[in-house]
């Protein structure tokens, strides 16, 4: 048998959805997943290794070839601009990246400040709008920044909009839609193309079916 495929999966919410999708496509990842502290889980009967990683790190593992395949949010792909093949939109965990802030507050005319987890996405977006901004990188609770006067706007992921609403913030513009993507290491894409193509086909079929229903 050929060498197993190593898949880097994001821990947490996306994993649940991805695991359901994988199972429907014929890859049963439920066995062995009870030992949630384990970071690498082997599935010898399916010739798979599953690696549990932080969602932001999945792309890194795949780019360096530590994993052949990964499941990563488009937000991370946009932010990190790494050399991986983006082969399939899994259409799970849909959300979008938005610009938000306090209502009726114009951008400061001298050096507008934007707080975000996505410095590259934010600067790229505002540059395209013809606006030069200063980024304040934060790691979480981005919504705090406009409330306490740290930033004029935030650029962040929105799924339901509830956090924004509860903190009295409004959305100004939507930057882009985000779903999870199947990504592949460039070398694995060539050398393990057979197994990977089969997986892409299986997953693709399920995603299409789900869309129709």
């Amino acid at each position: 048998m050929s060498k197993p495929l190593t898949i880097a999966m994001p821990k947490g919410r996306i994993f649940e959805e991805a695991a359901v999708l994988m199972e429907k496509a014929g890859y049963d990842l439920t066995g062995g997943m009870d030992e949630t502290r384990k970071l690498i889980i082997h599935f010898p009967d399916q010739n798979l290794n599953i690696m549990m990683a932080k969602p932001m790190d999945v792309v890194t593992y795949v780019e360096y070839g530590a994993a052949d395949i990964g499941i990563a949010g488009k937000d991370v792909l946009l932010e990190q601009d790494r050399d991986v093949h983006e082969v399939l939109d899994l259409k799970i965990s849909p959300c979008y990246i938005s610009v938000a802030g306090l209502p009726d507050q114009p951008l400061s005319r001298i050096a507008p400040k934007i707080a975000t987890k996505y410095p590259n996405v934010a600067s790229h977006y505002f540059r395209e709008q013809g606006e030069q901004i200063e980024v304040i990188p934060l790691n979480g609770s981005i919504e705090l920044a406009p409330l306490i006067g740290l930033a004029d706007r935030i650029v962040d992921i929105v799924s339901t909009g509830r956090t924004l609403h509860e903190n009295g913030l409004v959305e100004y513009e939507k930057i882009t839609d985000v779903t999870s993507r199947l990504i592949v290491n460039p070398v694995s894409y060539r050398l393990k193309s057979k197994e990977i193509d089969i997986m892409v086909q299986n997953l693709g079929r399920i995603i299409e079916e789900e869309e129709v229903s």
Binding site: K3, Y64, G65, V84, E86, L88, D89, R181, P186, V187
Partner: protein
């Protein structure tokens, strides 16, 4: 900026320690031997070039160039590859050669690509350029030479993926006409290997379903000979058919070189934006996260140095090759002749005799070695010429 510590090197720079130096040398020697046996002449070019000439002509991205100023204020670049400098040489020095020229190189190149680990800013490339041969025989020779030099270096498992930029371009023109901006966008998606983005773009196009299907089928044109026929059916304009014929011809020639088992085809392969113009290829090996080698035919580079000629070549990332070979570290066999003040003459004589026999001989005064037992472990043999050792041959 904090004060530098003594052991620090500039970002992306690495030392080549003796064991790695030897591994590299071995791989390089084996490759260059094969390259020479195909009649390629090795040459070298300066590490510094003008940004205006070589810097601009190179396929390397502007932001990846190391730049500095010379005393007259001209912008210089550390050479980011050897293809552009060799094109410069070929254009100026070899202009009068009315026949193909075969050149080869091995040397360090520099790319400011270091943001994190694993992407060195200086690395070595071994490569060839076949200048002035427009034929498929030239393309086949370069690929066959690449394969046989990798094999000679000891690499067993690898794959060369071959594509044709002419096909992709003609395919898009055939289906989408003169919509240059759109074609550029689609090519960029392929170049960035963003197939999701490509499919979304195609789905959003205002074209008929047959065109959409064809655009999506382009993504499937990967594999072996069977894709030639599919590729021909998918787009029927002259340029596409010609590109497919060139690939078929190449495949025939590679069979005669008996290297076809290492080759697969991918009609949507795009390695560089606006650089390669015909057949292009990249090579991968297991256990490497990144590309092992690449190359192809380029027609626009030499004209930018005022030489109207087509050329094709390959470049192998030597450090990655060594990594892919994964050979055990070979320690150098070194013998030691130990001496003391009284026995130096005899020791020199012994050492010279051993060197004549082709051995690497360390001649060492015993008083300089604090821990003799530890020292002995680094050596294969000791000739103790000191009084304690008997002062004679062992």
């Amino acid at each position: 900026m904090p004060k530098r510590l003594m052991f620090e090197k500039p970002l992306g720079m690495r030392d080549t320690l003796p064991f790695f130096y030897n591994q590299k040398k071995q791989a390089r020697d084996q490759m260059t031997q094969v390259i020479k046996s195909y009649g390629y002449a090795f040459m070298d070019t300066p590490l510094l070039e003008y940004h205006e000439t070589v810097g601009k002509a190179s396929a390397t991205l502007e932001q990846q160039l190391f730049k500095l100023l010379d005393q007259q204020g001209h912008t210089l670049v550390l050479r980011p590859d050897l293809t552009a400098p060799i094109a410069r040489v070929a254009a100026s020095q070899l202009k009068r050669a009315e026949h193909p020229v075969r050149l080869a190189y091995d040397g360090p190149v520099f790319r400011a690509q270091q943001q994190e680990g694993g992407k060195p800013a200086q690395f070595e490339q071994v490569g060839t350029e076949l200048i002035g041969d427009h034929s498929s025989y030239g393309d086949a020779e370069v690929i066959a030479l690449l394969i046989s030099s990798l094999k000679e270096a000891g690499l067993e498992e690898f794959e060369i993926t071959v594509g044709h930029v002419g096909y992709v371009q003609a395919f898009f023109t055939d289906l989408l006409g003169e919509q240059d901006e759109l074609i550029e966008t689609l090519m960029h998606y392929l170049y960035r290997k963003n197939y999701v983005g490509y499919r979304e773009k195609v789905a959003a196009l205002a074209v008929d379903d047959a065109t959409k299907t064809a655009l999506l089928e382009l993504l499937q044109l990967r594999g072996n000979e069977e894709i030639f026929e599919q590729g021909r059916q998918l787009a029927r304009n002259q340029a596409c058919i010609q590109a497919v014929n060139e690939l078929k011809q190449l495949q025939r020639l590679l069979k005669q070189y008996q290297v076809e088992e290492y080759v697969s085809f991918d009609l949507n392969l795009i390695s560089h934006m606006n650089y390669y113009t015909g057949i292009l290829f990249e090579g991968n090996a297991p256990n490497l996260g990144a590309l092992l080698c690449n190359g192809g035919r380029y027609d626009k580079l030499l004209p930018s140095f005022q030489l109207n000629a087509s050329a094709t070549g390959f470049a192998v990332y030597l450090e990655r090759l060594v990594e892919a070979l994964d050979q055990p570290v070979q320690t150098e066999d070194r013998v030691c002749v130990l001496f003391d003040d009284e026995h130096f003459g005899k020791a020199v004589e012994t050492a010279q005799a051993l060197r004549q026999d082709g051995k690497s001989v360390v001649l060492q005064h015993i008083d300089q070695v604090a821990d003799l037992d530890q020292y002995k472990q680094e050596l294969t043999e000791i000739y103790d010429m000191t009084a304690a050792g008997g002062g004679s041959d062992v």
